[in-house]
Amino acid sequence: MWSLALGTLRRRGSAFVATFVALLVGTAIVAACGGLMETGITLAVTPHRLAAAPVVVTCDQTYDLPKADPADEEEDVESAVLPERVRLDGDALARVSRVPGVLRAEADRESGAVAVWTTPDSGEAVADRIERAVPGTVALTGDERGLAEHPEALLSRENLVVLAAVFGAMAVMVALFVVSTTLALAVRQRRREMALLRAVGATPSQVRRMVLIEALAVAAPATALGCLAAPFLGRWLLARLAGAGVVPPVVEFRQGLIPPLVAAGVAVLTAVVAVLAGVRGTVLARPTEALAEAALPAGRVGPLRRALAAFCFAGGVALALVSVLFMPVSLVSSTAGPAVLLWAVGLALLGPALVKWITNALPWPFRGPAGHLAILNCRARAVTLAAVITPITLASGMATANLYMQTTQAGAASAAYAHTLRADAALSPVSPGLLDRVRAVPGVEGASEYVTSTGFVERPHDNWQREDGWPLWGVTAEGVARTMAFDVAAGSLADLRGNTVALTIEHARDIGRGVGLGDTITLRLGDRTAVDLRVVALLRVETGAELFVLPAALLAPHTTAGVPESVLVSAAPGTDLGGLGVDVRDRGALTAAHDAGQSTQAWVNYLLIAMILAYTAISLVNTQVMATAQRRREFALQRLTGATRAQVMRMTGLESLLVTGVGVLLGTVAAVVSLVPFAVAVAGTPFPSGPVAIYLVIVAAAAALVLAATWAPAWATTRGRPADAVAEV
């Protein structure tokens, strides 16, 4: 069996190129995602200023969310990362110095951390002792020490891990599909060969073993190469993520053995499952059926595929319902993304039947002999076409859904921001006294400091709270009404002085047994400080836009910067703010900056989608090249019966357009059924927003790809004399 399988591989290597490439790229992507995940978990940041100290003591940046019932030991404690730098207590330096084993301790002014020198080899042990002796501190050693200089890297951990997990899972699903279609095609092309084997005495299990060995012989080098390529891909991806601001550039790429091993395992398992599924029909069929001359497989969809498709559709509907009914707006994309994948896979599973139905049912606008032949071919070759249509459906569906999700979300956020912002300009940097000087400028109608952070509700218990915390806005009571458009339902923002807070009306109803005006809540600010705040106003906002508004004077000292980000100004036209000696950004620049902030996130999305699309495109091209090259004799026969080479090319071109049309149609269906609930949840209308050009580009790109992948091999296979091609066996 081994020699037979390997001999086949050597002679018919081209049939396995697609599988090889698909496995290589799939392994590389999955392993790179694993690397990103490991990078996030390890979070290695090389220390610079503190590099000389073997141990660096900082404050613990983690925060355990309060439990619903503090006495309940069963309840899981959720842990969050505090977004602002937590400062060590004044006596921390002295206490650390007294810990046995510490030779010397020195405070780092810039980061607030304490650098500790120990005897060589005792770093770890001393670090443990410091953490025990001085509660609330974290003693970092090795690569972790850099975190003291860059605590913002901690915040990126979760983003990086979640991003890598989501993207990796999607890559696994896509790889499963791409590899199984390419392998299935490779097996189907050799249907007669396997029938012959069966006729001369190979048992079904022998045939199965042969294709299994073939698949493994292809998978082994492909996954090995993929694993080798993974670190480069991972490093490149991390650099892109750093460029987009998702991860601080100081985080270093770390990838051990586990990600490539897992990726290789997934790839090999995928290949094995795919080849066994692909060969099932061929092996079970009696040899005579397969030896029969008309080898075009029928466009039937078995019960297993139908059941899987139904499962996918049910999952898609469930995700749509969840996104509309339960999800906070910020998380809707995490259900809508998988939804489109489920729909696309479901449609692809029904591929052969759908393709047959569509090509039969639709009146195609092609005329002339080439058009006529193109339609007949598409009807007859439904199963082969389905293998080409599947990647088009996946790619166009995912591209359409994800890109329009992005534009819809960005559009909604931009509109909301523009709606909330009433100021005409923003001034920065903020220094003490700037607010008063701004107010004194003639023509200024109102000014408010502006600072943002993240905080947590400590008391009473907040059931809605997650480890992301809540956005906190710091404003100035006198100027907030002129610079921001809050819809106040009760109370007044003018009372926002001292230890006070405004929150949204629905959220207020849900905290504890419900809080109202005059009640006190305890918030944990970004630097772990707990403050008791009296509720002075209730705001009306759309679900998902919950926030707390605090006096800027209260909030700003508890941020890493320590001062407000800017002063928002609303002024009469023509007011000259240039004399203040600070940077002035007008309203247009503010919304543009906000939109740009949104688009860095979008950029990450584009990058990941682009990678999956490129992957799908590889399989699409390979599948189509294989399918076209296989029709050498058919083309030759057509030319012998009087078709010109131009007519053959025209026919294959029209077939490509048909194939693209069907694939894009199915992809659009998958995208629309995921986008509509998304738009309802995010923007409150069933219509996603965004430029039509995106869709047109997707369609054009799909058509160009299929045409190129069809014409290149068609041109090559029709080059020689047709009689030679027909004479071949």
Binding site: L4, T8, G201, P287, T288
Partner: protein, 247 residues
């Protein structure tokens, strides 16, 4: 009589498709193929001759009736047992696509032995290849051989397991007259010297004339029989059956 039959079909019926669209390919055929003889099965296109061959060789299961091979009932046998039987007791030669393109002549010939996990007796394999006249060609791949040579490789492969019966489906269909005569001579020779049984489906009266007996099929039933045939006699009977088949 029955004991000397290598293969025997008893009231074999075979239906294709179901419901209203069912087609009866064999309508109750009873026939024996005596040991050590060569029998040609003839008939117009669609008369059921290929179906008869497939049922007789256990490649396909009859709808009803029974097939015995060397006295053993093979209808209702499980696929795995049938496969083993094919591998050990039967040989096949088809019209086209007979060889695995990835394998050399030697590898193609020894394939049934290796599939059966049997040791390859080099001397015996060499003798078989010698017998079909391809001694100098063992390292070649099918694409480097002529049609007649490819067919002789297929015959060598069919012979290598020393099968009781060789089934040939239009073995000369894709060959020119001279090469066809060579292949037929080889088959004849095998029956004469090796004592093997050959069942050959053909539409060529010249090919049929090489057989000991010719049976004629039409619409799924046996309609005629000819012993010690000549090409002329076979051609006349075929014309009598009506349509000239081209399968």
């Amino acid at each position: 009589m029955e004991t000397t039959d290598a293969v025997r079909l008893e009231a074999v019926r075979k239906m294709y498709g179901g419901g209203g669209g069912a087609v009866e390919a064999l309508a109750g055929v009873t026939i024996g193929f005596p040991k050590g003889t060569m029998t040609a099965v003839m008939g117009p296109s669609g008369s059921g001759k290929t179906t008869l061959l497939h049922c007789a060789a256990g490649l396909d299961q009859p709808t009803s009736g029974s097939v015995t091979l060397e006295g053993r009932e093979i209808t209702g046998m499980r696929e795995k047992a049938l496969t083993r039987l094919r591998r050990e007791r039967l040989g096949f030669v088809f019209q086209g696509f007979n060889l695995l393109p990835a394998l050399t002549v030697l590898q193609n010939v020894t394939l049934p032995l290796r599939l059966g996990g049997r040791p390859v007796d080099d001397a015996q394999v060499a003798a078989v290849i010698e017998r079909v006249g391809l001694a100098g060609r063992v390292g070649h791949r099918p694409a480097e051989l002529s049609g007649g040579q490819q067919q002789r490789v297929a015959i060598a492969r069919a012979l290598v397991t020393r099968p009781a019966v060789i089934f040939a489906d239009e073995p000369t269909g894709a060959l020119d007259t001279r090469t066809a005569l060579e292949v037929l001579g080889l088959l004849r020779e095998i029956v004469r010297t090796g004592g093997q049984t050959i069942v050959m489906v053909t539409h060529d009266p010249v090919a049929a004339a090489h057989a000991d007996h010719v049976v004629f099929l039409a619409d799924g039933t046996l309609v005629d029989r000819l012993d010690r045939p000549t090409a002329d006699a076979v051609a006349k009977r075929m014309t009598g059956l009506g349509a000239w088949g081209r399968s």
